[in-house]
């Protein structure tokens, strides 16, 4: 298995991709290098991605092996065991950043990547803001130790493009109420509505890593895909990266579901003046579909608190943080009885005086 190790040409220290500068940085001598420059130096011109749906699927069938693999660190010579889907990692012995090239060979090479924009320094602020205003959060939960345990990872995503065509039938009604002498009159008019047309989508993301929680990955979106750049392994330096282990065929239904739901919603917006509108029959199909394989930046924070595991994800481009915070039972109890007491006393006093 081949792997790439980005060394500083000046001092030989392992280089890391800097989210703030967008360059490869040397922590030892402070030099910075353009990604393309280092990429060319290490491996020559970057081979262009030749993605197409058919070829891509053929490549997948041959390369979705997720068994354990061994690679040799070029810096210290250690043999490191890794998950077959890992594309970039740290050498646990010399802490060098290593990119395992096999993971992107052939049909598995990503079409693009969004580099990390959020720095680890900015993340401390993001984490602090995430906990702000959360009255039930245990005070000692977000300590600096936990924030320092953050791991930047490039998560594999499928980006689907397509145009949804078709028609949707809605059941609708208009209800009017008025008084007629001593009577109250309620009139309901029933309608059948039909809307037809098309709506196009670009870069609908569905994560391609089974290990990642789907809801969590959907929650950290949206990404700004206009910043998607051609894939170069140098971007992975300093971060972990996973290869997809979920076939795009398995992700297509989810992408279609999202596109169709938006189309129905868009049609619904054209039905004005009704008291209630419900969709009845849908006849929708996706035309001109295409898919891209990309790597998107995500910071993952794993915490253990009160014997329970908590995982947080931060969008490495926009800084949006998602996750479930632990609830302090003590604080919850205090708020419950505090509110109960205050309402009882104030309301009881008011009622007694009436």
């Amino acid at each position: 298995m081949d792997n790439t190790f980005y060394k500083c040409p000046a001092c030989g220290t392992a280089l890391q991709y800097g989210a703030a500068s967008g360059k490869l940085e040397c922590a030892s001598c402070g030099n910075t290098y353009e990604v393309a420059e280092m990429e060319a130096a290490v491996r020559g011109a970057d081979p262009q991605s030749t993605f197409s749906w058919g070829n891509y699927k053929a490549g997948l069938q041959a390369n979705t092996d997720t068994t354990t693999k061994v690679y040799i660190c070029k810096s210290c010579g250690a043999e490191i065991l890794t998950d077959g889907t890992t594309a970039a990692t740290h050498c646990p012995y010399c802490d060098s950043e290593v990119v395992i090239n096999d993971a992107f060979d052939g049909g598995l090479r990503p079409n693009g990547v969004i580099p990390f924009k959020v720095t680890k320094e900015q993340m401390k602020q993001i984490v602090a803001n995430f906990g702000k205003g959360k009255k039930l959060l245990p005070r000692d939960f977000f300590t600096n130790k936990r924030v320092n345990d953050v791991q930047g990872i490039y998560v594999p995503f499928w980006l689907f493009d397509g145009t949804v065509n078709g028609t949707v039938e809605f059941d609708a009604k208009k209800v009017s109420r008025y008084d007629d002498g001593n009577y109250r009159v309620e009139e309901t008019k029933y309608y059948s509505l039909e809307r037809g047309g098309q709506l196009s989508f670009k870069n609908v993301p569905v994560d391609g890593a089974v290990k990642m929680d789907d809801a969590m990955m959907e929650s950290i979106g949206p990404y700004r895909f206009e910043e998607l750049t051609d894939f170069q392994t140098a971007y992975l330096s300093g971060y972990l990266a996973d290869r997809f282990d979920q076939d795009p065929d398995d992700s297509v239904p989810r992408a279609e579901e999202l596109m169709k739901a938006s189309t129905v919603e868009r049609f619904r917006e054209t039905t004005k003046g009704y008291s209630e509108v419900r969709d009845k029959n849908k006849s929708l199909s996706v035309s001109n579909p295409s898919v891209k394989y990309v790597l998107l930046p995500v910071y993952i924070i794993n915490c253990k608190y009160g014997g329970k595991d908590y995982r947080y994800a931060i969008n490495g481009q926009t800084g949006k943080m998602v996750g479930e915070l632990p609830v302090s039972k003590q604080r919850r109890r205090a708020y419950f009885w505090g509110i109960f007491g205050a309402v009882t006393v104030i309301l009881g006093t008011i009622l007694s005086l009436l």
Binding site: V185, E187, T188, S192, G196, Q198, L199, N203, E218, S219
Partner: protein
């Protein structure tokens, strides 16, 4: 926070005690006879004031039972309010939700509406006599 709650308990007990055992002020100074002097000879007023003279002092109908009843009502409302507030606070601790649509990825100006028909089907009416 715990200290604040502990401080709140005696305040709550004190206020409850004051309200339960507090008697309303005695009736206002002056009697019906004093007032009689200032009214005209209107018969209705005289009858009313005579009845008032015969009547007893304004007895407070706000007994301990009255306060307990009011405070029980307040306590039930307090429980509901506390449960709802804490429920909202707890649900705010999680912001992971699956997307329900792909509206963030719609291509600008790509929406084309080719069919737009509204067909009237039927009408139903209901007449109910007003309660009053």
């Amino acid at each position: 926070m715990k200290k604040r709650i502990l401080l709140l308990i005696p305040v709550l007990l004190l206020m409850t005690g004051i309200l339960v055992f507090h008697k309303p002020a005695a009736k206002a100074a002056g009697t019906a006879s004093d007032v009689r002097l200032s009214v005209t000879e209107d018969k209705t007023s005289v009858v009313f004031l005579t009845t008032a003279d015969k009547g007893t002092d304004e007895k407070p109908d706000k007994t301990a039972g009255f306060y307990i009843k009011k405070f029980l009502i307040a306590a039930v409302i307090g429980l509901i309010a506390a449960a709802i507030t804490v429920g909202i606070m707890t649900s705010g601790m999680k912001n992971i939700r699956k997307s329900s649509n792909a509206k963030d990825y719609v291509v600008k100006d790509s929406f084309v509406l080719r069919v737009s028909e509204d067909r009237f089907l039927r009408e139903e009416g209901k007449r109910t006599r007003k309660s009053n």
